[in-house]
Symmetry: C2
């Protein structure tokens, strides 16, 4: 092989087929030796020297990883069965035919947010869509995730949140699954697209050339056309449970906030939320009926303090950014007609409640009823009259104004 | 007047008519001089000496109170108009005719929890119901409060929570209002009563001889009959906004946990929640639809961290007591059918997902698909076969078991 970028690309392509996602030994090997030599070691064409083995061990120790399967020897044994299947040029051709590319950490378009995964950062991303203009700015992405068997309520909220985020220039990340994920992608596409960041990003657990689940094919094609679809596993890969679980860490890492819209007590969406929390990302959960099993997981997150309650897109954006800016907007969103007593002092409130509705009372009576001194009542009546809350009813009598 | 209990009772009865709830100067005067002399000073029959004035000032400073209306001179001026109306014997006779009593802090039945209000502790409680057996044990009371214009959802949750609490031997405190309050009282009465603590306690903003609102008269009569109805304001008093707000501090102080079931963005129930938080009591909020204005106040409490998400009575009880005890019960309440892969190691999960459903694969193929070494596949197949998750399909071929 000759040096330079093409080699890096081909090596990472091959390694992404050799290693399962989050294969820590593999990732430590890449960190220690670089992708090109890591591939040569992993495939057995270069023997790992003691220095390299020590470096890999240190990388793993630095990431706090030990235990079964975490020695280089064990890892070589599990990589060996896949070596005959490696065909990086074929995989690169496949993604290219699908209109996509292989993004690597060496690429300036690589999402910087993924670096927070440390050793767990994906080796590469097989990606389709507008990777040049579409990659969202750091901190303007939110994951909207949840149950596949969503309720009408959950689907509706997912749609409203996603649409609200895209209207504010945010990108909506999700997993392309049925239910909440699909609704989030769909609503994001309905509102946005065209210039600027992709309205939505689907992070898949299968190869980026596949449409899984089949029922979402049309939707996922539209995500490719106007958003971004990506996966860390190479073209043709099946979605396995392990890949689903690991895929969730990418969704969490890409997103400034991860919002769980609906989730059962046990749900993959909670796994995404925990990844987000572990990364120090903000986590939001949408409240729902206490009678809905599909909200039980959200309530669990709220209850144990793992998530903040979010009810609209503005609250999601507020979670990501400096608080305070949106406190006013929250007040504005909940405008209620001002009550007549808004802004009154305690004394004037006591006096207002002491004023009769029908026939007026004298000042002395008002003082007794309100529990105020006579001078306080006189001063208060003057203020309430100005506010059109009290009116005279005869010479020295006062009553409530009928406004 | 002669000394002793009757004087204390009469004096507190009179003072409760002279002072509005939480009249800090009045309460400081009682703290400094005792109820009997406080009444004499407050009614002008005893002149406050410099020593007493200093003591009152110190009481107020100790409670962090200053500003307008907080000098004894100002207070005397606001009390004066009510002096002619004082008739403690008449008030005591009225509560007695209604089958009630005046409870004072000197009474062994006085709810100890109220002492946490410090200077703001009520002077006395005009109370009806079974005050001898019915007063609940400290820490086994929960306030269930919320909007008057509750939705069907809110009413249903309030009822379920109250019933669940009473079944566990708890007392449900509320404010006797329409909506959530009424539903909480009603459900508590439907489940409990008879021996032991009162199933429910209504803390009123009007006199304990009155039924307010009128539409709740039957319910409130039943609360008197099988629970406890109480108020810090004397018989015949009207419910004013000030008294409603101050009444809320009593609800909060009586309750180990205050739960807001439904509340608009601005709601009196939030005031009760803030009182509870200020007292260091636990606050719970019930989640609901993000589209319901009646849940916006609950979500606000959840969002700003003022309340913990609660969805059933067990979670309320858990809030009050040592956590952990109920973590198991929460798991139990959300039992879901175990998935086939529950408890599998990552390696076995990878292998399980690699096993074909129809025609079997050889070990080498499985190793490549799963990303495991050949020995790891052999060991894993043995385990999965034992678990009835893998079966042989011919001599050296394996597939998924159709269980």
């Amino acid at each position: 092989m000759s040096g330079g970028q093409p080699d890096l690309l081909r090596s990472r392509a091959a390694l992404s087929r050799l290693f399962e996602p989050s294969d820590n030994v593999g990732l430590a090997l890449v960190a220690a030796a670089g992708p090109v030599d890591a591939l040569r070691v992993a495939t057995g064409s270069l023997r790992a020297g003691n220095a390299l083995i020590r470096e890999v061990t240190e990388e793993l120790a630095g990431a706090g990883i030990s235990g079964r399967g975490s020695s280089l020897a064990e890892a070589l044994a599990r990589w060996a069965p896949r070596v005959p299947d490696l065909a990086p040029d074929r995989d690169l051709a496949t993604i290219s035919r699908a209109g996509g590319e292989l993004l690597t950490p060496e690429d300036p378009r690589w999402p910087e947010a993924l670096r927070d995964l440390g050793l767990g950062m994906p080796l590469c991303l097989w990606a389709r869509g507008d990777l040049n203009q579409g990659m969202p700015a750091l901190g303007r992405t939110a994951a909207v995730v949840g149950s596949r068997d969503s309720t009408g309520y959950g689907a509706s909220v997912a749609g409203d949140l996603a649409a609200g985020l895209v209207v504010q220039g945010w990108s909506v990340v999700s997993g392309g699954a049925y239910g909440i994920d699909a609704q989030a992608h769909r609503a994001a596409l309905a509102v946005g697209g065209g210039a600027g960041a992709a309205p939505t990003i689907a992070v898949m657990a299968c190869g980026a050339d596949r449409y899984y689940p089949a029922g979402n094919e049309d939707l996922l094609r539209e995500v490719v056309r106007r958003g971004i679809l990506m996966s860390e596993v190479p073209p043709g890969s099946s979605p396995t449970r392990w890949r689903f679980l690991q895929r969730n860490r990418i969704i969490a890492a890409l997103s400034a906030v991860t919002v769980v819209v609906e989730a059962r007590w046990r749900s993959g969406a909670l796994n995404t939320a925990h990844h987000a929390a572990a990364l120090g990302r903000e986590v939001g959960a949408v409240p729902g009926s206490v009678y809905s099993a599909n909200s039980a997981g959200c309530h669990r997150l709220l209850r144990d303090g793992s998530a903040v309650c979010v009810t609209d897109a503005a609250e999601i954006i507020e979670l990501a950014g400096p608080i305070g800016a949106s406190a006013d907007s929250a007040e504005a969103a909940h405008q209620e007609p001002a009550a007549v007593h808004d802004g009154l002092t305690i004394e004037d409130l006591l006096l207002l409640d002491a004023l009769p509705l029908r026939s007026g009372s004298p000042v002395e009576k008002l003082a007794s009823v309100a529990g105020l001194s006579v001078p306080a009542v006189r001063a208060g009546l003057a203020r309430l009259e100005l506010e059109n809350l009290a009116v005279r009813d005869g010479l020295q009598l006062w009553k409530r104004s009928r406004r």
